[in-house]
């Protein structure tokens, strides 16, 4: 059971980071075909839900971790902030019309870049929190 939970949790985190890489390409002016935007959204959804569900499950399953441990509470806050900034980043991408484009040069909305940078930083800190487990 532990192996399944850990693998699912880590795989979900890989999905989230893959979404960050895809959005980084959009933010740098790379092509944003509908397929890539949709894939990024799917990875964001599965990764976001997977990390939180399997993460909570792991914390409950393992002796030695509690949901109110400081580093786990910090992870909840970072996860929620990343989800909200991600929503704003995607909204700005849509407003810029990138989802209507195929592979032609993309107009990059500064708001999309700003929210994406914040989300990327939050996810990076979240990953560091998961590995360094401050206070554990």
């Amino acid at each position: 059971m532990y192996d399944f939970l850990l693998f699912s949790h880590v795989l979900s985190a890989f999905f989230l980071l893959a979404m960050v890489v895809i959005y980084s390409s959009f933010a740098l002016g790379g092509p944003a075909p509908n397929r890539a935007v949709t894939l990024a959204q799917v990875l964001d959804g599965i990764g976001g839900i997977g990390t939180i569900v399997f993460g909570v499950w792991l914390a409950l399953y393992l002796d030695g971790y509690e949901l109110w441990d400081g580093w786990i509470v910090a992870a909840f806050v970072l996860w929620a902030a990343a989800a909200e900034t991600g929503r704003r980043s995607h909204a700005a991408l849509r407003l810029a019309g990138a989802t209507e484009a195929t592979s032609e040069p993309t107009t990059v909305d500064p708001a999309m870049v700003r929210w994406h940078l914040i989300r990327s930083a939050l996810i990076l800190v979240l990953l560091a929190d998961m590995i360094f487990k401050p206070g554990a």
Partner: protein, 158 residues
């Protein structure tokens, strides 16, 4: 039934962080490259082909390098490099990483040459460029192999 959480020594955290981050960027670069290359294969502009090549060159390869160097670092920290023989999970990791590098380089070079030819040809008819098919095949295979490596790294089969 539950298990006791294992706490690592603090000195292992930085190499592990870099190892995982590098692997995540490498996989993200492969996913992005596959998306662009598949778009190019289906007949979209050569710009997608070029973007797929750049995703491999600037995303997957740097991520791979960070992952691989940090892997050696943490292997040394944990003292696993002094074992008489590698445990299975380390063998799987090394196998995927080292053989995967060869495939990653081939995919990148193939995509680079192919996308340049496609752009030189006016950016049309990319499906006829063999390079895009080779790059899509290799990138897909690498993603499956990396999924196996992630499984081996997390579950550590005996």
């Amino acid at each position: 039934m539950s298990e006791i959480a294992v706490i690592r020594p603090d000195s292992w955290n930085l190499p592990l962080f870099l190892h995982v981050l590098g692997a995540m960027v490498a996989v993200g670069g492969l996913v992005l490259a596959l998306t662009y290359l598949a778009t190019a294969w289906r007949g979209d502009s050569a710009r997608s082909f070029r973007a797929g090549y750049r995703a491999l060159l600037y995303g997957a390869i740097p991520g791979y390098l960070v992952m691989r160097v940090a892997a050696q670092w943490i292997l040394s920290k944990e003292g696993l490099d002094n074992l008489p023989s590698d445990p299975n999970w380390i063998g799987i990791g090394f196998g995927v990483a080292d053989f995967g590098l060869l495939l990653l380089l081939i995919a990148t070079i193939t995509a680079g040459i192919g996308s340049r030819r496609a752009l030189a040809g006016g950016g049309e008819a990319t499906p006829r460029v063999v390079g895009v098919r080779v790059a899509v095949g290799l990138t897909s295979f690498l993603l499956v192999a990396y999924a196996v490596a992630i499984w081996a790294m997390t579950t550590k089969p005996a």
